[in-house]
């Protein structure tokens, strides 16, 4: 596989990994601004901020997925040699970002 295609495919998998992690939030940790502490437990009696943890896990697991994919795609894989497939998959990753944005907007305004 050509090096550029390998990088783009790894990036696509990294972006999809980010979107899935950000959407499902399999792990969480919270920042408590009044106490100035971090915790994996959500305490109901004080203000907790989940955005830091959600962003951290999304970016970290997305980067990890992309790195693993980059390593695996270098092992002589011959799949996806067609330009159309590369084009389609990279557009799929952007679509996933857009759909996640739409979900966030709908969720936040319906909660508010």
């Amino acid at each position: 596989m050509e090096r550029k295609d390998r990088i783009v495919l790894a990036m696509v998998i990294g972006m999809l990994g980010f979107v899935i992690t950000y959407y499902f939030q399999p792990f969480a940790f919270y920042y408590y601004p009044l106490e100035g502490i971090w915790s994996t437990e959500k305490l109901s009696e004080t203000i907790a901020m989940g955005w830091y943890g959600r962003s951290f896990w999304g970016l970290t697991l997305g980067a990890l997925a992309g790195s693993i994919a980059f390593g695996l795609l270098g092992k002589g894989w011959k799949i996806l040699r067609f330009d159309a497939a590369i084009k389609l998959l990279s557009l799929l990753a952007v679509t996933a970002l857009v759909l996640l944005s739409v979900h966030i907007v709908i969720h936040e305004f319906s909660v508010g």
């Binding site: 550029k4 990088i7 980010f18 601004p33 955005w51 970002l97 996640l100 966030i104």
Partner: protein
């Protein structure tokens, strides 16, 4: 004591400067890349500069926003939006802004990677990357437009 409360206004000002740079870089980048999609392959070196500028300014803007967030969460959202005005709409505007900022960071990194990979956009082997590159820039245009507008509006309502 809330983290970075004492330098909240300075951070907010620097956040604004970085946001203006990121917006300008996105617009200039869009002009170049939409030109590629229309078959005008000019000012390629400038496109690389704007992609790098976007990555740096957006990254700085994101970090400053993350530092400001606890101060905003307590002094603006809890003490004013929730307690005084019951402004659920403003809270939702801000929550969307924060989430879109993280999504924008991912898009910004992807844009920078594309700009590094596409050495000559007129080359046939690079044309397959242009639709996703253009789509990411459209996403970023919408992203920075929302974030600049909502950031300005929220600051007008109540600042840190």
């Amino acid at each position: 004591m809330i983290a970075f409360e004492s330098i909240g206004k300075l951070l907010l000002f620097l956040h604004l400067i970085a946001a203006v740079c990121a917006t300008a870089a996105t617009i200039h980048l869009a002009i170049r890349v939409f030109g590629y999609l229309a078959g005008r392959y000019i000012k390629i070196s400038q496109e690389k500069v704007f992609a790098k500028l976007l990555l740096i300014s957006y990254g700085v803007c994101y970090m400053l926003g993350a530092l400001l967030y606890p101060n905003f969460r307590i002094r603006v959202r809890r003490d004013y939006f929730d307690a005084v005005q019951h402004m659920n709409f403003a809270t939702a505007l801000f929550e969307v802004k924060e989430h879109l900022a993280t999504l924008g960071l991912v898009a910004t990194m992807a844009i920078w990677i594309f700009s590094k990979l596409i050495d000559r956009p007129s080359k046939l082997e690079n044309k397959k990357y242009l639709p996703a590159y253009g789509a990411l820039i459209i996403f970023m245009l919408a992203n920075v437009a929302y974030n600049i507008w909502s950031g300005w509006y929220l600051t007008v309502l109540r600042s840190v």
